[in-house]
């Protein structure tokens, strides 16, 4: 019974990551055909370009193996991107099993019904391991489904072995987070430490890959051991020892978590540092930021928002600092120059900066919109909007304050990114036009507002489904924007994607039509939100 319940609790992740894994593999396969072409020569040139770009980011992602083939390219894209997202999911699941179940009262219910703590932890972990296996195998199905359509013949056995290696690595990540979650006093701290540890291990692996003297530290990272299996690429190898080692390490970490789980109190960590003691507070806060819902919202998410702004600033600075070396390497090869001039036309450095940095910034802002809508959705569903409306606050004001909150927060992130690139640009040797750099950064704001407007409208009427709908919309928009040039879709179709609409304003003359269009999307979403919010019933039940 506990096993079935444990499995049921992961069903959303199972469905989401299995479908996502399938689609990612499928669409990357389609993109491979369009980008690499069908001749051996064009595929070889494409493989060289992928390797060159990957070398600039070797501190973060592994070098590709035979990226000129479908199997090698898919393997690289998975290890460079999707696996990181899945590792974060595994980390959150580890903290969820370790602590969040207790906040929800599930752990207490199970223990009260006679399930022992070790059995509970083992059942929940076994269920998640199975979920990981299914999700990883779904990516193999995606590759197998696209391969005949792109006239490629991937090594399915090698793909399955790669999926097994990924499963073991992700399971180890889950176990690390599960063990860490046993220690801190609060679940939120456990989440930060658990997920932070996995990000740290990703960086450790990057350092080990790029600095020979420090290569030994890679052994502590599951990413290191996952990368040792390259069986999806032609001539690649399956490292049985690394895979079994990851699985054994995961089991050992779960085993280590059990005695701590037995020792600590439910709802509390092994260490209870930081719990407040002292005289009781009997007065309300006089903080002026708490006077309006939108400033209260900004105040409440001040730590998270600071992380977004600083991360965007650092990432912008980092990306601009590697752009020149990537560009010089790419354009030294005439074949690669042709490929990249097609993808990012315009002045060399600026075009590539638009391709590398502003492409990432768009994804970050779309991601922030989803996070913000998720926050509003949770507030609506657990009764916070109900309580807010019990104060003399109109529904119109709730919508206006949400829009203001999003506008200010997204503007701060955009400004953070601009400061990062503007501060680094003079030392990067890119010789960028300051006006274009500012305009391209400024246009990120209406892009974010377009997503925010849609999010405000969705959450005002359908708070329960707003998040998956907006996330799915963002994915479809991104894929459409990504594939439209490759498939040479007509402009009116391509412009349905806000990503495509944004274009690459860091080069060429600036057209204000996209900015106007994106602002209109925001205003339309905002107006719809006003109407929808007035009509609906607000209730947490």
């Amino acid at each position: 019974m506990i096993g079935w319940m444990a499995w049921r609790l992961h069903r959303r992740g199972l469905i989401g990551f299995s479908v996502g894994g399938f689609l990612i593999s499928f669409f990357y396969g389609a993109a491979f055909l369009q980008a690499a072409g069908t001749t051996a020569q064009s595929q070889a040139a494409f493989g060289r370009s992928v390797t060159l770009v990957a070398k600039q980011f070797a501190f973060l992602i592994p070098l590709p193996v035979h990226p000129e083939t479908l199997g090698g390219y898919e393997q690289y894209k998975w290890l460079a991107g999707a696996i990181i997202i899945m590792m974060l999911w595994a980390g959150l699941a580890g903290v969820g099993v370790g602590r969040a179940d207790e906040d929800r009262g599930l752990t207490q219910e199970w223990i009260a019904s006679g399930v022992s703590r070790p059995r509970l932890l083992l059942a929940r972990s076994a269920a998640f391991g199975l979920v990981l296996l299914v999700a990883c195998l779904a990516s193999v199905v995606g590759i197998a489904a696209i391969a005949p359509l792109v006239h490629q013949d991937p090594d399915v056995a090698g793909e399955i072995l790669k999926a097994l290696s990924m499963t073991a690595g992700l399971f180890a990540g889950y176990a690390i987070a599960l063990l860490i979650a046993q220690f801190p006093a609060e679940r939120q701290t456990a989440t930060a430490l658990g997920v932070g540890a996995l990000v740290l291990l990703l960086v450790v692996n990057g350092i080990a890959d790029t600095i020979e003297a420090a290569s030994w530290i890679g052994v502590i990272s599951p990413f290191h051991w996952m990368e040792r299996t390259t069986s999806a690429a032609p001539g690649g190898t399956f490292d049985l020892g690394a895979t079994v080692g990851l699985a054994v390490a995961a089991l050992a970490l779960i085993g280590a978590a059990i005695p701590i789980f037995l020792r600590r109190d439910i709802g509390s960590g092994l260490f209870n540092w930081g719990r407040r003691t002292g005289a009781a507070v009997r007065v309300a806060s006089g903080n002026v930021l708490l006077r309006l819902p939108f400033t209260e919202g900004l105040w409440e998410q001040r730590v998270g928002l600071t992380v977004w702004v600083v991360s965007t600033l650092l990432l912008g600075s980092l990306m601009i600092s590697v752009t020149k070396s990537v560009a010089d390497a790419l354009f030294a090869d005439p074949a690669l120059a042709v490929v990249f001039r097609g993808a990012a036309p315009g002045p060399t450095y600026a075009a590539l900066l638009g391709f590398i940095w502003f492409g990432i910034a768009l994804l970050l802002l779309a991601g922030y919109a989803v996070v913000q809508v998720s926050r509003w959705s949770a507030q609506d569903q657990d009764g916070r909007v109900e309580l807010l409306l019990s104060a003399p606050i109109s529904r119109t004001r709730v919508v206006i304050e949400r829009a203001l909150e999003f506008a200010v927060a997204s503007l701060l992130i955009v400004v953070g990114g601009y400061i990062g690139v503007a501060a680094t640009a003079p030392r990067s040797g890119l010789n960028l036009d300051a006006g274009h750099l500012f305009t391209a950064s400024a246009l990120l704001w209406p892009f974010a507002l377009a997503f925010g407007g849609l999010g405000v409208a969705l959450v005002s009427r359908w708070p329960r489904i707003a998040v998956p709908f907006l996330a799915a919309f963002a994915v479809v928009e991104y894929i459409l924007g990504d594939l439209a040039p490759l498939f040479k879709l007509p402009d009116w179709v391509a412009n349905l994607s806000v990503f495509h609409l944004y274009g690459n304003p860091v080069v060429g003359s600036v057209s204000w039509t996209p900015a106007l269009s994106m602002t209109l999307v925001f205003l339309a979403g905002f107006a719809a939100a006003l109407v929808l919010m007035r009509q609906r019933d607000v209730s947490s039940a």
Partner: protein, 302 residues
């Protein structure tokens, strides 16, 4: 004519499948403490959300202190203090931040009042919301509802989760508010928790108001359980046809039955018989209350 604190006319919220609230006609006078009672799922929270303008009625109307509950909901809420059935999550915000936020939105809140309520309820506003127990969350809800001295308090199961000492303190706050002229509308599914502060109660069952009465009236319609012990063989036939007498049973020297209304016919029937013992058990108000929860015809009992 004095404006009613709460007035509803044929107020209806139909969720389909027989769920919701139907044709609610209710009037609560200014200064009154009105208990709104019913089992879980009866429609108490639906009524309260309609009064607060949070959900839209499918029929009828509601007014609060003479204002339209839907059309003038912002004006209404300037006058109202509200405790929801369950306080929402405020995550990492501290109690003082939440109190400060709602105090600023409402206006007219002074720190002396906040200090007074938190001291009486022993509520520490320095803790993060996620560190609060169920009872402390409820205390925070009470603080938010009472701190601006509203003219009308609409309280959805305000005592659930509170320990007996804090329940007593809460009832003192209610009585003080009414002494200052406020009206209180509070829901509960436990009559005994609220009977000593309410002047009238309304009982709702399956979305329909089945009874509105003063507490004394509930006592008057009570059913007694009577037990009579005869010196000789029991004589149940003496009572079988008496008005208001039901469920007559006998066992050896003893007869038991339930009796409603006047006791006089029973006393007359016993004349000339040798009775050893007679006991009449007063039902608790809770038992009276429960009779309205039992399955019965849907029409309102008056």
């Amino acid at each position: 004519m004095m404006t009613a604190a709460i007035r509803t006319e044929k107020l209806t919220k139909d969720y389909g499948g027989g769920r919701g609230l139907f044709d609610l006609d209710l009037e609560v006078a200014p200064g009154e403490v009105f208990g709104y009672l019913g089992p879980n799922g009866a429609g108490k929270s639906t009524t309260i959300r309609l009064l607060m303008g949070l959900i839209h009625p499918t029929g009828g109307s509601a007014s609060i202190l003479g204002l339209d509950a839907i059309g003038q909901s912002v004006e209404v809420k300037r006058l109202v203090g509200y405790i929801p059935g369950e306080l929402p999550q405020f995550g990492g915000l501290r109690g003082r931040d939440i109190a400060g936020h709602f105090g600023a939105l409402r206006g007219g809140v002074d720190q002396t009042r906040v200090k007074e309520i938190t001291e009486r309820l022993d509520l520490d506003l320095g803790l993060k919301f996620r560190q609060y127990s169920t009872g402390n969350k409820k205390k925070l809800g009470i603080l938010i509802a009472f701190m601006h001295r509203p003219k009308l308090l609409i309280l959805d199961e305000p005592t659930s989760g509170l320990d007996p000492l804090n329940q007593q303190e809460f009832f003192k706050l209610v009585l003080e508010a009414t002494a200052a002229g406020a009206t209180v509308f509070l829901s509960s599914h436990v009559l005994s928790e609220v009977e000593h502060v309410c002047q009238r109660v309304g009982i709702i069952r399956r979305g329909r108001l089945v009874k509105v009465a003063r507490l004394e009236e509930l006592h008057e319609i009570r059913v007694r359980r009577v037990e009579i012990e005869f010196a000789g063989e029991a004589q149940p036939e003496l009572f079988a046809h008496l008005p208001g007498v039901e469920n007559v049973e006998s066992n050896g020297h003893r007869v038991t039955f339930t009796a409603r209304g006047s006791f006089e016919p029973i006393a007359n029937a016993l004349a000339g018989h040798h009775v050893v013992n007679l006991a009449s058990h007063e039902p608790s108000l809770e038992e009276v209350f429960l009779t309205f929860y039992e399955d019965a015809p849907e029409k309102a009992r008056t």
